[in-house]
Symmetry: C2
Subunit: 275 residues, 2 copies
Amino acid sequence: MAMRMLIDGAAADQVPALDRGLAYGDGLFESIRLVGAVAPLWSRHMRRLSESCERLRIPVPDAAQLWRETLDVPRGMPHSVVRITVTRGVGERGYALPAAPRPMRVIAAFAPPQVADSAYAQGVRVRVCDIRLAEQPLLAGMKHLNRLEQVLARAEWSDPAIAEGVLCDSHGRVISATMANLFAVVDGVLLTPALDRCGVAGVARAEVLAACPQTQVGELTLDALLGASEVFLSSSVRGIVPVRSLDRQDYAVGEMTRQLQQHWRDLGFLMEQGG
Amino acid sequence: MAMRMLIDGAAADQVPALDRGLAYGDGLFESIRLVGAVAPLWSRHMRRLSESCERLRIPVPDAAQLWRETLDVPRGMPHSVVRITVTRGVGERGYALPAAPRPMRVIAAFAPPQVADSAYAQGVRVRVCDIRLAEQPLLAGMKHLNRLEQVLARAEWSDPAIAEGVLCDSHGRVISATMANLFAVVDGVLLTPALDRCGVAGVARAEVLAACPQTQVGELTLDALLGASEVFLSSSVRGIVPVRSLDRQDYAVGEMTRQLQQHWRDLGFLMEQGG
């Protein structure tokens, strides 16, 4: 549960029932990992948020104001995840954009999810989901509020030993996990799926791509993934998490994964402590 | 704006900021046209809502309670549209279904949209939208809260002379309008698109199918639509609205459309009065 929230800058825990974020999922969010008062990936979060607002024609929120509120909400928490939700606000009835939109922002701080040290050291078990992501280029890449596919995907399993699910598109191409992006080393080359037709272009993924500019962004088949020498997940909340198995296929934790975990530590994240 | 709202049975106009309806669009809605205290399509709304709840594994709300609240909220309004929103409620963080979901219901009454008498008599102008609906069989047919495609579609035009937009899927097949279903008479046969891969299976559409059991439900190409002898839209809020033009193609208002408008009057709707 959230420790404390700011809604349009005021302490509150409720939003207007007629907000378009609830009515239509008409908005965006960012989940930002903080270490004390530091958010190492902040500028990447703000870049994605502003680009997505422009794509959806939602007025871009003021980043300096968001930063003040993001620092304010988790005060006293040594580690936190701050979720920023930006919606198009209350509108007239119907899908048409309001002539004078008044976006709403919700800033909420949470304790980070519990991730066992063994997950970072030895990796997590992952399954392939049955659901296929629909292809919608006009929404691809954004962390928008239309997330029923992820809800249905995560509802496919309840075994707590399975940490994540791999999502493929309707052509069987690997896209991501349900709440993380996915990387694989295939024939010595670091690969991650292109996300121009579906999927969320994660902020941690962008950090990996910047740190490893030789990464190939393209098509990743399930067969190629099963034959990879190392596989890991990237998440702004959880960092770099090795995959130890995908269904019946096992993987070793590889050198690239270890290097990127070290890169995450160098950024200021403490992956083995506090989640 | 809503005249009055009930949230989980209590007069209120705000919802918890951590509700999954806002976080993920994790819920459903129904827009129900009332004539005084009568909702002619009520049982169809309840059937769709309960079937969709079962598909999304949201506990099915009590229909008798919904009916009491639906009657209560628009008290004193001779004509109204009541929107029932049902979400999975507040949950732990993350996509996983809460172990003990506590669904939330919002009942809000609105004045019906203004529809000119001429729209029912002579028809409305419609355009073909550029956006292509993504195909997701696991979500198709439901009136869920993930409606960004409709928001983007409706944002494609601002000309008030255009009443609606036709949505096609990625294969170019006609699916629906942005807020209505679509029927066409082609070679003397009443056709409406199949909605097993995308689109919302409207309650008014179900009423048309019951009234005209000879209707063919299947594939409708844009070419076939442009060559139709009559085209109309069905909506639980607006009723049966003839299409007078689709881009540069004109249509006459046909006999089938008139018969279904009469059927709507027989159900108790007064399409030419009060919207």
